[in-house]
C-alpha cells in the first residue's frame, strides 16, 4: 500500500513542481515586461519635464537673453513666442526636439483672477497617434514669466502635451536620421518598427501620415527632410533602412 501511494504522490509532486517552476518563470518574465513598460512611462514623464526645462531655460528656445548675453531662466521672450508660434506651427522646434516622442507646447498668460487672460501661444506637433497606435501620453506644466518689455513681465504657464506613439516613433527616427545626415555624421541607419496601422508619405506637404487599424482618421506629422518613401501598407513589424542623400532621406 505504502509503495502504491508513493507511485501516485511522486508523479503528482513532479507535476506540481513543474507547474510551480512555470509560474516562477512567468512571474519573472511578466515583471521584466512590466518593468520595461514602467520604464517607458517614466521616460515620458522625464522627457516632458526635460522639454519644459529646455524651452524655458535655453536661449535657443524661449529664454530671454539681454544684450549683455545674460540669460534669464524661466523668463520667456514674447518675441520668441511669436516666432515659434509661426515657425513651428506643426512641428517641434529643434532646440527641444525629442526624437522618441511628439509634443505640443501651449504658453498662456495668467491674470489677476488666477485665470488665463486670453493671450496664448502654441507650437509643436499638431496631430498625435491615437487608438492602438498610442502607447502613452502626459500633460505637464511649469510656471514662466512672459517678458513683453523691460517694464512689462507677466505671469504665465507653459504646458506640454507629450505623446509616445507609433507615428511619433517612426517620424522621430526618420527626422533623427535626417539631422545626422545634414550634419554629415551618419548617412545610413536602420531600425525595426511595429505598427498598428499603415503609413503613407505625402511629398506635397512633406508629411508622414499614419492610419491606425480599424480607423479612417489619418494623423500626420510634418517632416524635416523630404523623403523617398513608398509607405508601409500593412500593420505589423517592419524593418526600415534609411539613407541620407543630398537633403533627402531614402527609406527602403
Amino acid at each position: 500500500m505504502k509503495g502504491q501511494l508513493s507511485y501516485i504522490i511522486k508523479p503528482i509532486t513532479l507535476v506540481m513542481i513543474v507547474v510551480l517552476l512555470i509560474l516562477l518563470y512567468q512571474s519573472i518574465s511578466e515583471s521584466t515586461v512590466k518593468e520595461k513598460e514602467a520604464q517607458k512611462s517614466l521616460n515620458v514623464v522625464s522627457s516632458a519635464t526635460d522639454v519644459l526645462l529646455m524651452l524655458a531655460n535655453s536661449y535657443d528656445c524661449l529664454a530671454y537673453r539681454t544684450t549683455t548675453e545674460s540669460i534669464f531662466s524661466n523668463v520667456v521672450d514674447v518675441g520668441r513666442l511669436e516666432e515659434f508660434s509661426e515657425r513651428y506651427e506643426a512641428i517641434e522646434p529643434e532646440c527641444a526636439r525629442s526624437y522618441e516622442f511628439g509634443w505640443r507646447a501651449n504658453v498662456y498668460e495668467m491674470g489677476k483672477n488666477s485665470l488665463p487672460t486670453g493671450a496664448n501661444w502654441s507650437f509643436g506637433a499638431k496631430d498625435f497617434s491615437y487608438g492602438a497606435a498610442l502607447m502613452d501620453s502626459i500633460k505637464l506644466d511649469m510656471p514662466v514669466a512672459i517678458r513683453r518689455s523691460a517694464k512689462l513681465v507677466t505671469p504665465g504657464i507653459m504646458e506640454v502635451k507629450l505623446v509616445d506613439g507609433e507615428l511619433e516613433k517612426i517620424a522621430g527616427f526618420i527626422d533623427w536620421s535626417c539631422q545626422l545626415g545634414r550634419k554629415g555624421r551618419s548617412v545610413k541607419s536602420s531600425a525595426s518598427v511595429y505598427l498598428h496601422g499603415t503609413v503613407a508619405y505625402n511629398a506635397t506637404d512633406n508629411t508622414l501620415c499614419l492610419t491606425p487599424s480599424g480607423s479612417k482618421k489619418k494623423i500626420c506629422r510634418q517632416m524635416i527632410c523630404q523623403l523617398d518613401f513608398a509607405g508601409l501598407k500593412s500593420p505589423g513589424e517592419h524593418m526600415l533602412s534609411l539613407a541620407y542623400s543630398e537633403g533627402r532621406v531614402v527609406i527602403t
Binding site: 518593468e35 514602467a38 514623464v45 524661466n74 495668467m110 511649469m142 514669466a145 505671469p155 504657464i157
Partner: protein, 419 residues
C-alpha cells in the same frame, strides 16, 4: 508512510519557497518602480517650484514697472510691505502683488513666502512750506542761517536727510536784511534746496479755484498739497521716510475776514476758503501717505506768551521799513484758531503740531531737528504672504537671494510650496 509524509512536506516547503520568490520579485520590482515613479514626479514638481520662484521675481508690477525682486528689496529696505512711489505711481502693496501672481502659478492656499527685513535706517526726505508774509521775517532769518547746517549735521552723523524748502509767493523784504524768498541767503547744498513754490505749480495736481497752485503768501494748505505732489528737488524716493513741514503764523490763505466790519481775525467766523485750503493739503498728504508737521510761530521774544513782538518790513511806501507793535494784528488775534487748524492738519495726516504752547520764538530749528530725529518708519520684522505652512504635508522650500535696495546687503526670500 513516513517517507510519503516527508515527500509531501518537502513539496510544501518547495512550493512555499517558490511562491515566496515570486512575491519577493514582485515586491522589489513594484517597490522599485513605485520609488522611481515618485522620484520622477518629485523631480518635475521640484523643477516646477523652482521655475515659479525664478520667474516670479522677474515679473514686473504694472504701475511702477519695477520687478518683484526690486519691490521686495525696497520693501525690505523700508521695512514696509507697501512701497510708496510718490504722486503718479502711488502705493504698491508688495504682498498683494506677490499673492495674485503666486495664486495664479501655484494655486490658492498652496504656498507661503517669508522675507525677513534687515534692520536698516532709511533716508529722510522733507518738503517744507514757509509762509511768506511779513510777520515771518523773523523765521526766515532762523531758517536760512541754521537749517542747512542742521541738515548737514545729520549727513555728517551718517543719517541721510534732504530737505527742500518751498517759499510761498510774496517775498516780503524784511528790515533784518533778509527776504522771504529763495535767494543767495539760502545756501544750495546737495541736501538742502530752497525754491519758490511757483516754480513747481505746474507739477501740482491740486489746484485752487482759480486754477493755480497757491493763492496767497499764506496759502500753505494748497502749498503743502503742491509740495507733496511735486516732491522735493531730487524727487520722492520709494526708499525714504517722507515728511512735510509747514511753518506759519496764520490760517491758510490768511487770517483776515474781509466780510467783517473790521479788518482782521474774526473768531467764530466761518473761514470757508481757509478751510478749503487746509482740506486740500490734508487730502493730498493723506493720499500720498506723508505726515505733515506744523510749526506755529510768532516772534514774541521778550513778551509774555501769545503776545506779539515786533514785525518790521519794507514796502514801496516806506523803503526804510515799517515797524509795528503786533498786539492788534491778526496773526496774534487768531492764534487759537491757527493752533486748531494746525492740529487738524497734523492729526489728520499722522504728523505732529508744534503750537505756541510748545514752541518758543527761538526754537523753530530745534523743532525741525526733533522732527528729523524722531522720523523713524514703523518697520515690520518680515514680509509674510500666503497660507500657513501645513505641518502634515510634504513641502518644498526654495531660497532666493534678494538684494536690498541701496543698502548693499542681501536678505533671503523663503518660498514654500505644497500640493
Amino acid at each position: 508512510m513516513k517517507g510519503q509524509v516527508f515527500e509531501i512536506f518537502g513539496f510544501l516547503i518547495l512550493a512555499i519557497a517558490v511562491i515566496g520568490v515570486i512575491l519577493l520579485i514582485r515586491y522589489f520590482m513594484i517597490g522599485s518602480y513605485g520609488k522611481t515613479v515618485l522620484a520622477m514626479v518629485e523631480r518635475h514638481v521640484y523643477e516646477e517650484v523652482h521655475a515659479g520662484v525664478n520667474s516670479i521675481f522677474f515679473m514686473t508690477e504694472e504701475k511702477s514697472g519695477r520687478s518683484m525682486m526690486e519691490l521686495v528689496g525696497i520693501a525690505a529696505f523700508t521695512g514696509n510691505d507697501t512701497v510708496n512711489f510718490g504722486p503718479g505711481v502711488g502705493d504698491v502693496n508688495v504682498v498683494k502683488e506677490l499673492e495674485w501672481r503666486l495664486d495664479a502659478l501655484y494655486g490658492k492656499g498652496k504656498w507661503h513666502v517669508r522675507v525677513p527685513y534687515p534692520d536698516i535706517t532709511p533716508d529722510v526726505q522733507i518738503v517744507m512750506v514757509l509762509d511768506a508774509s511779513a510777520s515771518m521775517c523773523y523765521a526766515v532769518k532762523e531758517i536760512s542761517t541754521r537749517l542747512p547746517a542742521v541738515i548737514e549735521s545729520f549727513i555728517s552723523a551718517g543719517k541721510k536727510v534732504s530737505a527742500t524748502l518751498y517759499i510761498l509767493p510774496g517775498g516780503a523784504d524784511c528790515c533784518n536784511g533778509y527776504k522771504l524768498q529763495c535767494s543767495d541767503q539760502f545756501p544750495e547744498t546737495p541736501y538742502f534746496h530752497c525754491r519758490g513754490i511757483v516754480e513747481i505749480e505746474s507739477s501740482c495736481d491740486t489746484k485752487t479755484a482759480k486754477g493755480v497752485g497757491v493763492q496767497t503768501d499764506e496759502d500753505y494748505g494748497h502749498g503743502i498739497a503742491c509740495a507733496v505732489e511735486a516732491g522735493p528737488v531730487e524727487e520722492w524716493s520709494p526708499l525714504s521716510v517722507k515728511l512735510g513741514i509747514i511753518i506759519s503764523d496764520e490760517l491758510p490763505e490768511g487770517s483776515e475776514c474781509f466780510s467783517s466790519s473790521r479788518f482782521g481775525c474774526c473768531p467764530g467766523q466761518d473761514y470757508v476758503e481757509q478751510r478749503k485750503s487746509l482740506e486740500a493739503g490734508i487730502k493730498s498728504a493723506q493720499e500720498n501717505k506723508i505726515p505733515i508737521f506744523t510749526i506755529q510761530q510768532i516772534d514774541f521774544t521778550g513778551k509774555d506768551r501769545k503776545e506779539c513782538g515786533t514785525i518790521c518790513f519794507k514796502n514801496a511806501d516806506c523803503p526804510g521799513g515799517i515797524c509795528a507793535n503786533q498786539d492788534l494784528l491778526l496773526q496774534c488775534a487768531c492764534t487759537d484758531l491757527v493752533t486748531q487748524y494746525h492740529q487738524d492738519m497734523a492729526s489728520a495726516t499722522g504728523g505732529k503740531s508744534f503750537t505756541l504752547d510748545s514752541i518758543s520764538a527761538s526754537d523753530i530749528i530745534d523743532k525741525i531737528n526733533q522732527i528729523i530725529v524722531e522720523a523713524k518708519p514703523v518697520k515690520k520684522p518680515s514680509l509674510e504672504a500666503g497660507s500657513a505652512v501645513p505641518s502634515y504635508k510634504s513641502t518644498r522650500v526654495v531660497e532666493v537671494l534678494i538684494p536690498v535696495s541701496v543698502s548693499g546687503v542681501y536678505t533671503k526670500a523663503y518660498v514654500t510650496q505644497w500640493s
